[in-house]
């Protein structure tokens, strides 16, 4: 009589403990990877408030450069992709801490990573969010509600707008004018798998699929055709440092 009772409790205990682990963690062993974002203009390190010439020969002084990254995934050498639980980060040149992102990923041999530059449309229509997506971070349009996916602001003599400013606030989540862009980066050439250095080259903001001249369009404040053109450019923004 005693043994079956003990056995029963044993089973119960095992059920309870495995139940807890199943609910708390996926089965695959996990590891952490760190992404370091570096901001550049060609070969020059980006420095806020200091003038520099861009690829189209326009001298620009960048005051603000920030963007959202979200919806990460990792792909192993055999081509299996694991989509990570959705997280949102605001990378801000003015905040060096924000340029380092730590992700928990399955312990696989990673050959490429993917992420969304911007915020998916679901989060654009779900009321007020918290954390990186809190509208108080200034990356949100309140009159035509939705996130600014990426923001580049500063001044340039080429700009004919007030104070020679240029203002690129790129957003829009509706069909046909969605300014978020999927980014895929091959990481197989990097030495250390757990530390991935990503460069965002602002020259590609100005010259990617098309050319964006501050002399012609110093301001983008709206979703629509211009925002889509710049978004197509910034879909080429990133590369991996070997």
């Amino acid at each position: 009589m005693r043994t079956p009772a003990a056995l029963l409790y044993m089973i119960l205990l095992i059920a309870v403990t495995t139940g807890f682990t199943a609910a708390g963690k996926p089965h695959l062993p996990q590891k952490k990877i760190t992404l370091f974002f570096h901001h550049k203009l060609g070969n020059e390190e980006l420095v806020l408030s200091s003038p520099v010439k861009n690829i189209l020969g326009e001298t620009i002084t960048v005051e603000k450069f920030k963007y959202y990254v979200s919806n990460f995934s990792v792909t192993d050498t055999r081509g299996n992709t694991v989509v990570l639980p959705v997280q949102y980060f605001l990378v801000d040149e003015a905040n060096s801490l924000s340029k380092t992102i730590i992700l928990t990923v399955p312990d696989i041999s990673i050959s490429s990573i993917g992420f969304l530059l911007g915020v998916d449309s679901t989060r654009n229509v779900s009321g007020v969010q918290t954390g990186a997506l809190d509208p108080s971070n200034g990356m949100f349009w309140t009159w035509n509600t939705g996130y600014i996916m990426a923001k580049l602001e500063g001044s340039s003599d080429a700009s004919a707008s007030a104070g020679h400013r240029f203002t690129f606030d790129i957003g829009g989540f509706r069909n046909g004018i969605n300014a978020a862009r999927m980014i895929h980066l091959d990481t197989s050439g990097t030495g250390k798998q757990e530390q991935i250095h990503i460069t965002a080259d602002l020259n590609r903001w100005f010259k990617g699929s098309s050319e964006i001249r501050i002399a012609e369009t110093p301001v983008c404040h709206n979703s629509g055709a211009l925002a889509m053109k710049i978004a197509d450019n910034y879909s080429h923004l990133f590369s991996i440092n070997p």
């Binding site: 005693r2 229509v125 009321g127 108080s136």
Partner: protein, 357 residues
């Protein structure tokens, strides 16, 4: 035997532990409030599951709604532009006054039955009620504040920390909670006690002109201003000519489609006797000028609504009956309801003599 005992001890520890987790939540017990859908109305579109209504949440929302600290200079609360005696419009103003002697570019509509509304503003630019407060808070010609400052002002107030705790379980104050609390209050603003409603419920009857007006209304107006909310929430071009100063293209500003040029949301006509002046920029001073727009002054163009391509012919007789009917949409219980008035303020539903801030 010893094994069984050990397991028992372990089991007990787990049970008591789990019990504590439960008790911790039991300290926080706001009073739930059930949202009442008036008889015969459609289900609301607001997702209450994300923001369950509670007495504490509603009370907090009301305090924020009437708090001038949401604006840069402390002068402009939500309630300064949305006045209860005008069914929460800016009473008798084509445009509203904002920070530093500025004016809004649109007419402040009455606020009621917002739980049934999916998008907000005349152009539908705001896609969630919780997000709505962010627009007036940050607009230079309204409250001229930053969201960050507003949240910090509330955080530094002991009274607010207490109220947020009562409503949400802890003292955390952030944009989301401010939005949710305001929504809880705004969702209470249900207007469903006009004479029209009483007639529909069989508690009253129309006099003859009202009845005739109702018949005309169902024929000529109800395809856009549809019952029971008196709007179908669509965006329509009514042949309203553009104002060269305001240059407001309406829905096109949001979608970027030229086919949406000069389209504005069909406004509800509930409480319409109180919400003058009319139109998205308040250009119509009276109902008569709205009728004259429909029958004479409108300028149909390529994107004007098919229903109005040939204007909307109305005889003087019809205008008289329609007016009688529209007056039955005034909800005098709503505009006097003390639950919606500024905390501590008396309310007799009458506009004060001088309503300028």
């Amino acid at each position: 035997m010893r094994l069984t005992k050990n397991i028992w001890v372990l089991f007990l520890i787990i049970i008591t532990g789990a019990g504590w987790v439960g008790i911790d939540n039991r300290y926080f017990k706001p009073t739930p409030v059930k949202f009442q859908v008036p008889k015969g109305w459609p289900q609301p579109v607001y997702d209450f599951s994300k923001n369950p209504l509670t007495e504490e949440g509603i009370l907090l929302g009301r305090k924020i709604f009437y708090d001038g600290r949401l604006s840069k200079d402390g002068d402009f609360s939500c309630g300064s532009c949305h006045q209860q005696f005008g069914a929460f419009n800016t009473y008798d103003h084509p445009l509203s006054h904002g920070f530093n002697n500025s004016l809004t570019t649109r007419n402040a509509p009455g606020l009621f039955n917002l739980a049934w509304q999916k998008e907000f503003m005349w152009d539908g630019g705001i896609n969630h009620l919780d997000l709505q407060p962010l627009a007036p808070i940050t607009a230079e010609n309204e409250m001229a504040e930053t969201i960050e400052n507003v949240v910090n002002k509330l955080r530094s107030d002991k009274e607010y920390r207490k109220l947020f705790k009562a409503a949400f379980g802890d003292e955390l104050i952030n944009t989301q909670r401010v939005g949710r609390a305001l929504s809880q209050f705004l969702l209470q603003l249900v207007s469903s006690n006009s004479k029209y409603d009483k007639v529909m419920r069989g508690e009253a009857s129309f006099i003859l002109p009202e009845q005739l007006g109702y018949e005309i209304f169902k024929k000529k107006c109800a395809s856009c201003h549809s019952e029971p909310l008196f709007t179908d929430y669509s965006y329509r071009n009514t042949g309203i000519p553009i104002d060269p100063v305001l240059n407001d293209l309406g829905r096109m500003k949001i979608t970027g489609n030229s086919s949406d040029s000069l389209k504005f949301r069909v406004p509800s006509l509930r409480n319409v006797a109180l919400t003058f002046p009319y139109g998205h920029d308040g250009r119509f001073f009276s109902l008569i000028s709205v009728f004259d727009h429909y029958r004479k002054n409108m300028v149909p163009n390529a994107v004007t609504d098919p229903l109005l391509k040939n204007r909307l012919p109305l005889s003087n007789f019809e205008v008289g009956q329609l007016t009688a009917f529209l007056y039955t949409l005034t909800d005098s219980v709503f505009i006097k309801d003390p639950r919606f008035a500024a905390p501590g303020a008396g309310n007799n539903g009458k506009p004060p003599r001088d309503i300028h801030p």
